[in-house]
């Protein structure tokens, strides 16, 4: 794989729920080891786009996806094992979901599903993921407590730990900091900067400051269309190429 091959290549992707098209033929690349920000108002299709990437959109009845998504050059519709595809992508949903299992089992769930069962391998993996999600110090003495009994912000970090537990090559974070306090958010942002050396990150966020701090490039998605995709310095400067971007970033959109 040479460096110029995009990690993810999306070509003319459209998505319809029932008869209603919500993503209208978008085309973009995600480069290896970059942090790509996605900003855009509510209902612009950010979450739906992520669900197309790991094909969990297949679980929603009545959807129609057209166009092409390639990860490392391979068409995701043609993969032999869709579960392995989902494991190459870590997905963090906006609302925290602790599974009704112990904290340990929450993190060990995905590796176990993939066939890893030996405690000697699971223990260090669980610890590493919890550390990366900035949760280890708070839970290391009560790993067998229920994940659902954690606070909202802790559950969100547990979700992040779970998304890292299957050692993904791509990490998608969908407004991950809604339920997390600023201090913890900063800690996780530091972790993301660490992680990008190994993996590619897609960060959906409505906090423009966060996008500015973290991302290399930012995509402005609006009503299922890409208005602008450029280096973040440009998007968040006072002269992006589209005036909608400027208005949205400055909160005078509409």
């Amino acid at each position: 794989m040479d460096a110029s091959t995009p990690k993810i290549a999306v070509q003319d992707l459209s998505l319809a729920y029932g008869g209603t098209e919500v993503i209208h033929g978008i085309t973009f690349d995600v480069r290896p080891n970059e942090i790509l920000g996605i900003i855009g108002p509510a209902r612009s299709g950010k979450t739906s786009l992520l669900r197309c990437l790991n094909r969990t959109i297949d679980f929603v009845a009545g959807t129609r996806v057209t166009g092409e998504i390639r990860i490392d050059g391979a068409d995701i519709r043609a993969v032999r094992d869709v579960h392995a595809l989902r494991r190459t992508i870590g997905m963090v949903a906006p609302l925290p979901v602790g599974l009704p299992l112990s904290i340990y089992d929450n993190v060990a769930f995905a590796p176990r599903c993939a066939g890893l069962t030996r405690r000697a391998e699971l223990d260090p993996l669980v610890e590493r993921c919890l550390r990366q999600a900035a949760l280890w110090d708070e839970v290391k003495d009560r790993l067998d407590n229920l994940g659902t009994a954690l606070s909202g912000g802790q559950q969100q970090r547990l979700t992040i730990a779970r998304a890292l537990s299957h050692q993904p090559e791509i990490l998608c974070l969908d407004e991950f900091s809604i339920a997390i306090d600023p201090v913890t958010t900063m800690r996780i942002e530091d972790v993301l900067r660490e992680l990008r050396r190994e993996i590619t990150i897609i960060l959906v966020t409505n906090l423009t400051h966060q996008a500015r701090r973290l991302t290399d490039r930012t995509m402005f998605l609006w009503n299922g269309r890409i208005i602008e995709l450029d280096r973040s310095e440009v998007i968040f400067s006072d002269q992006p190429s589209r005036k909608e971007t400027l208005e949205y970033v400055n909160g005078i959109f509409g």
Partner: protein, 305 residues
């Protein structure tokens, strides 16, 4: 600019006529609802106390384990008691696994298309079919077409068909109560549907599923028509206290049927016997329901979200 006038605290929390009226309303509604709740319990208490008073002279351990004597005018109910246990156990052994698995398919796998909707409609309609119709179906299907004859097998299968749709419905309800977010979280990390069901969905719906199944015990035990047409008899000679008196191809006695027989068909029955039979039937049903509630409470205390 002067500040807006502020209502003093004392004035804001006084009891105006409106507040007083609302309080009266509250009290009245509460009283009516309480009265209804009490009213509902009264018939149950009345039934139980009346039954027990009437049945008292006949109630004894002997009554449970003895066989009917002197043309069923005396003795006990052992063959009917064992027969009911046979019918209930066999019918649920058939309908519970099928019903639970079918419900898992319908709730967790089936896409929302015409086929699924047709099955759903069939389940709902089947649940509303009167038991006498099930009886006729069982007679045609199991006694004649499948050549099981009048037998425990035919009667149990008829009861199984009768309880199946209700088990499917209650299981689906229990499964649907597990939040969708849990499933999505599992799918996101690459779990298969089955891994998700086994690790998350079933452990968190098992109490509802089991309760639904157990409640069908009382239904299967109480019905008369379906077994009357397919395998229950007025009398069957059986050893006193014999735990396994029947084979699958035998006909059997059953409590519901026996109650009907001794109340209406046999002359000169000792007066307390029908009442005592009813107490045993009711006691068994209530015991099973109590077990279901206890199980539910126990499992709910382990509820994990």
């Amino acid at each position: 600019m002067s500040p807006p006038p502020v209502t003093p605290v004392s004035a804001r929390f006084t009891r105006t006529p409106l507040v007083v009226r609302k309080e009266r309303q509250q009290a009245a509604v509460r009283l009516v609802l309480l009265a209804m709740a009490v009213l509902m319990v009264l018939p149950l208490l009345a039934i139980i106390s009346h039954l027990i008073i009437q049945a008292w002279p006949a109630l004894s351990w002997e009554f449970l384990v003895d066989v009917p004597r002197r043309g069923m005018t005396e003795g006990g109910i052992w063959p009917a008691l064992v027969g009911t246990v046979y019918l209930v156990v066999i019918s649920l052994a058939v309908s519970a696994p099928i019903g639970v698995l079918a419900a898992i398919y319908l709730n967790e796998y089936a896409r929302d298309n015409w086929f699924t909707r047709a099955i759903n409609l069939a389940v709902i309609s089947l649940a509303g079919v009167p038991s006498i119709v099930h009886a006729l179906f069982g007679l045609g299907a199991f006694v004649y077409a499948a050549r099981f004859g009048y037998s425990i097998l035919a009667a149990s299968l008829t009861l199984a068909i009768m309880t199946l749709p209700v088990i499917i419905a209650s299981t689906r309800e229990a499964l649907a109560a597990v939040p969708a977010a849990f499933r999505e979280a599992c799918w996101n990390v690459g779990a298969t549907r089955w891994q998700t069901i086994r690790a998350i969905v079933l452990p968190n719906s098992i109490s509802g599923i089991l309760t639904g199944v157990i409640l069908q015990v009382s239904r299967a035990a109480g019905e008369t028509a379906p077994i009357l047409f397919t395998g229950a008899v007025f009398f069957k000679a059986v050893q006193r206290g014999d735990l396994f008196p029947y084979r699958l191809t035998d006909q059997c006695m059953a409590l519901s049927m026996h109650l009907y027989t001794v109340s209406t068909q046999v002359p000169n029955v000792r007066e307390a016997i029908p009442w005592a039979t009813a107490v045993v039937l009711l006691g068994a049903v209530l015991a099973v329901n109590a077990a279901a509630i206890a199980l539910r409470v126990w499992l709910r205390n382990r509820k994990r979200w």
